[in-house]
């Protein structure tokens, strides 16, 4: 088991160490020093005593008064009998003068030998050797030392105990409080009241910081709970929206694995969300499209190109029972937490397709049925006015001309409707071939110049690039070009030419047709390419036309892989353009 040293023990440890150090210092340094000092003091005292004898010793030595000397020494020995064990006097020739008969005592460990020279004015009179026992002084000193040691240790114990109590109350108690409260907080009990630790030091600051942290966490927790509630409600709301929308809304990860599947999706594809979440989206596709799915995903990952992302596509889906059906699909991609999330909105367009098909069939049938009698009428009218070379009354001739023009107009309208119908039903085959753009434009201008004259304007090529090749169905493109030119002529002011030009940007050719007419009112701009749309759809149709031209042109250009558009400014004019990719090699 690992030994655990609590803070209280850690606080106690230096005090104990200090105690040990003090005891060691007292025992091994201070006591020997004190003893040695006492010994030296004792020796000094004894030496001083001997020195006080010096004058009388010298005097009596000079007088050869050995008796007096003996008396002095004997008296001194009596006075100092506690210490002096033996004293010896020698003359300068080291002859022993005192004592005569007594012998030296045995050495003991407290016996000190002090030898002094009796001298005055550099004249030596003799030597005193004193054997003195400092046992008494030593014991007295030891007693002092022990008393002081015990007192010091006792004092330190008191100080240590006092320090320990203070440390406990200053450090341990508040830290324990902090520990208990933080332990509760760490268990998630944020409602605990934080205790007040009013110490004016680092622990107090720590406690205040903890308190602040605790309050912040509490506030954060409350905020978080609020946010969670909001999010939960928002989630419920979104879930409700998702579940009530008839469209299928499916989310996929970057591998095409289904992450979510709403009620609409369940209805459309007849799968339960439980059984399909976690499977690949390919399960919802017909086999041929499923085969190319991986390729599309790879493409998207590598260069961001996608068949369905950001675009409405009409494709086919596959129900659980294997039935295929037309769908309208648009996918959007979002990066959430560094993961790509694809959200697809899928609509079952089986019904719409059915209606469209019925409509197209109806239009084709009706147009066909209308055109046949109209062609017969026109042939008859042509024969009457030109073929039989008849002299008709002027009134009749005028009536016939009106009839002829209206028949032509009806035929044009029916042809256009048939055109649109064919294009929409995909019945039109495009004959793609490469050709140079400049001769094409010049030729188209020439063909339509007569039409321009009808509106007192001309077509003028302001800038056409040489040697630019494109690949397209040249007849269909001529149809587009003629449509744009005729529109421009219709809206161009008199005697101001319509300008035709080309420009190239990033491998894309743009052909622009610019008129300086009134411009397109904002209300019409959005629906301009829809069928039967004209900017002056009011009662006074000055310009004439079927209202299908731009719609047909858009369908053709998009079928050729290009784009059609316009820029307009009210009162200044309009530029229609179409864009097609340039052939990479001539």
């Amino acid at each position: 088991m690992q030994l655990r040293f609590g803070i209280r023990k850690k606080l106690l440890l230096p005090l104990l160490l200090g105690q040990a150090v003090i005891i060691c210092v007292l025992l091994f340094i201070w006591q020997p020093n004190q003893l040695e000092k006492a010994k030296q003091d004792f020796i000094q005292d004894q030496t001083n005593i001997l020195k006080t004898l010096n004058p009388s010793i010298i005097q009596n030595m000079l007088a050869n008064d050995l008796a007096e000397l003996h008396t002095i020494f004997e008296n001194s020995q009596i006075i100092h009998q506690n210490e002096w064990r033996y004293i010896q006097l020698n003359d300068p020739d080291h002859k022993q003068l005192y004592p005569i008969f007594s012998s030296k005592p045995k050495d003991t460990n407290t016996l000190l030998k002090i030898k002094i020279t009796i001298e005055e004015n550099d004249e030596v009179f003799g030597y005193i050797t004193l054997h003195t026992d400092w046992k008494g002084a030593k014991n007295k000193e030891l007693k002092n030392i022990y008393q002081l040691s015990i007192f010091s240790i006792f004092l330190f114990v008191i100080i240590a105990a006092f320090s320990f109590i203070l440390q406990t109350s200053w450090i341990f108690t508040p830290i324990t409080k902090l520990k208990n409260i933080t332990s509760q907080i760490s268990k998630g009990n944020y409602t605990t009241t934080f205790p007040d630790i009013n110490s004016n030091d680092e622990i107090g600051e720590l406690s205040q910081t903890f308190k602040l942290m605790h309050e912040n966490i509490k506030a954060y927790q409350n905020n978080l709970q609020g946010t969670l509630n909001v999010l939960e409600n928002e989630g419920k709301r979104l879930r409700a929206i998702l579940d009530t929308t008839p469209d299928a809304i499916i989310t996929l990860n970057k591998l095409g694995i289904i992450q979510s599947f709403n009620h609409g999706a369940e209805n459309i594809f007849e799968y339960n969300s439980d059984e399909i979440i976690g499977l690949s989206i390919k399960i919802l596709m017909p086999q041929d499209f499923a085969n190319s799915h991986d390729h599309y995903m790879e493409n998207f990952k590598n260069n961001g190109e996608s068949f369905v992302v950001g675009k409405n596509r009409e494709l086919f889906g596959k129900k659980k029972n294997g039935n295929e059906f037309p769908i309208d699909v648009v996918f959007n991609v979002k990066e959430i937490n560094n993961e790509l999330l694809f959200t697809g909105v899928i609509r079952d367009i089986t019904e719409r397709k059915k209606i469209d098909r019925l409509k197209d069939e109806f239009v084709a049938t009706v147009s066909h049925e209308l055109r046949t009698p109209l062609t017969a009428i026109k042939g008859s009218l042509d024969l009457i006015t030109k073929g039989f070379n008849l002299k008709l009354p002027e009134q009749a001739a005028t009536m016939l001309d009106v009839a002829n023009r209206n028949v032509e107009r009806l035929l044009t309208l029916i042809n256009s409707i048939l055109n649109v119908s064919k294009l929409e039903s995909g019945e039109v085959n495009f004959m793609l071939e490469p050709f140079e753009i400049k001769p094409f434009i010049q030729n188209t201008i020439e063909l339509n110049q007569e039409y321009a004259k009808k509106y007192s304007t001309t077509f003028k090529c302001t800038w056409c690039h040489d040697n630019i090749m494109i690949t397209a169905d040249i007849d269909r493109l001529e149809q587009v070009m003629s449509n744009l030119l005729s529109n421009a002529a219709k809206y161009s002011p008199k005697d101001i030419p319509v300008e035709i030009s080309t420009s190239i940007d990033n491998g894309i050719l743009r052909v622009s047709v610019k008129d300086f007419g009134p411009g397109i009112p904002e209300d019409f701009q959005d629906t301009l390419f829809e069928k039967f749309t004209q900017s002056d759809s009011g009662d006074t149709r000055e310009v004439g036309g079927t209202g299908l031209g731009l719609s047909i042109s858009k369908m053709i250009i998009e079928n050729l892989g290009g784009r059609i558009g316009f820029e307009t400014s009210i009162g200044k004019g309009t530029t229609f353009y179409f864009e097609l990719p340039i052939n990479k090699e001539k």
């Binding site: 007088a63 050869n64 008064d65 050995l66 008796a67 007096e68 003996h70 003359d91 002859k95 022993q96 003068l97 005192y98 005569i100 008969f101």
Partner: protein, 276 residues
């Protein structure tokens, strides 16, 4: 307090009165003692004796101390003392200078000097001391020094180097510690030494004996008083208390002293050895 003052005056007046009455009876004489010991010791010995004399005779003897023996000699030669206790050689000098008359002396003993050597010194004859150092207490100490030096020089023709060591004890110690080869003393002081000192020494030689110290009187003191004093001293020797007092002087057996007791000293030619 006020009551005490008249009492004190009464006492003072009565005291003065009694002194004036006695002064008519008594006469005060001076007495000098040879300073062989320190003055306090001398007073301790002599004051009880002088008190006894005064008690018996009504004669007051006032002790006059002399710091040193030479001072004492100068003083008796000048006739300063009415009475004087002096050594045998002094009486010869005092007789010549002032005519001092010996009254009493110790008749129980004779004074002679002794010469001691260490037992283990190997010295067996006075002759062996030729050229050696000999310790003496002081130059003029009669038996230990004057007589001995005169005796060795005059009678044995020994040439020696005298070392004066102040006291008899010092003499013996100097011999024991071999500072000197021999030492001059007297039997009495040798006897007073510790046994180990005595045991370490042996007596090599003794001087001829002389009469011990006399108490002498100046001739100006009337014969009547002289007689009175002499008799009183002799009377002290008759009782136990008196004898014990005199024994400290020392006088073991007090008796009459005559000048003729001291004339034999003259032949020693002590003046040659006397150091002034």
């Amino acid at each position: 307090m006020n009551k005490k003052i008249p009492l004190f005056f009464l006492f003072l007046i009565s005291s003065l009165f009694s002194i004036s009455v006695q002064a008519e009876k008594k006469r005060t004489y001076t007495i000098g003692i040879v300073p062989q010991f320190e003055i306090r010791h001398i007073r301790k010995i002599w004051n009880p004796i002088l008190n006894e004399i005064e008690k018996n005779t009504g004669i007051k003897l006032k002790l006059i101390g002399s710091p040193t023996i030479p001072d004492f000699e100068n003083e008796f030669n000048a006739g300063k003392f009415d009475f004087a206790y002096m050594n045998p050689y002094h009486i010869l000098l005092a007789k010549d200078s002032q005519g001092y008359i010996p009254l009493v002396r110790d008749n129980g003993r004779k004074l002679h000097g002794i010469l001691v050597v260490r037992q283990d010194s190997g010295i067996n004859s006075v002759k062996d001391l030729n050229g050696k150092k000999i310790a003496f207490p002081a130059p003029n100490a009669l038996g230990a020094s004057l007589l001995m030096r005169a005796n060795l020089t005059n009678d044995y023709k020994v040439k020696f180097k005298p070392i004066y060591v102040k006291t008899h004890s010092s003499v013996y110690l100097n011999v024991v510690v071999k500072q000197t080869s021999a030492g001059g003393g007297v039997q009495k002081t040798l006897n007073q030494q510790r046994d180990n000192i005595k045991g370490a020494l042996k007596i090599l030689h003794k001087t001829p004996s002389v009469a011990p110290h006399p108490l002498a009187a100046h001739p100006r003191v009337s014969a009547e008083v002289r007689e009175q004093i002499k008799n009183t001293f002799l009377a002290l020797g008759e009782n136990v208390i008196g004898r014990s007092l005199l024994a400290k002087v020392p006088m073991k057996k007090i008796g009459e002293a005559k000048m003729s007791d001291y004339t034999p000293l003259k032949k020693f030619n002590l003046e040659k050895f006397y150091v002034k």
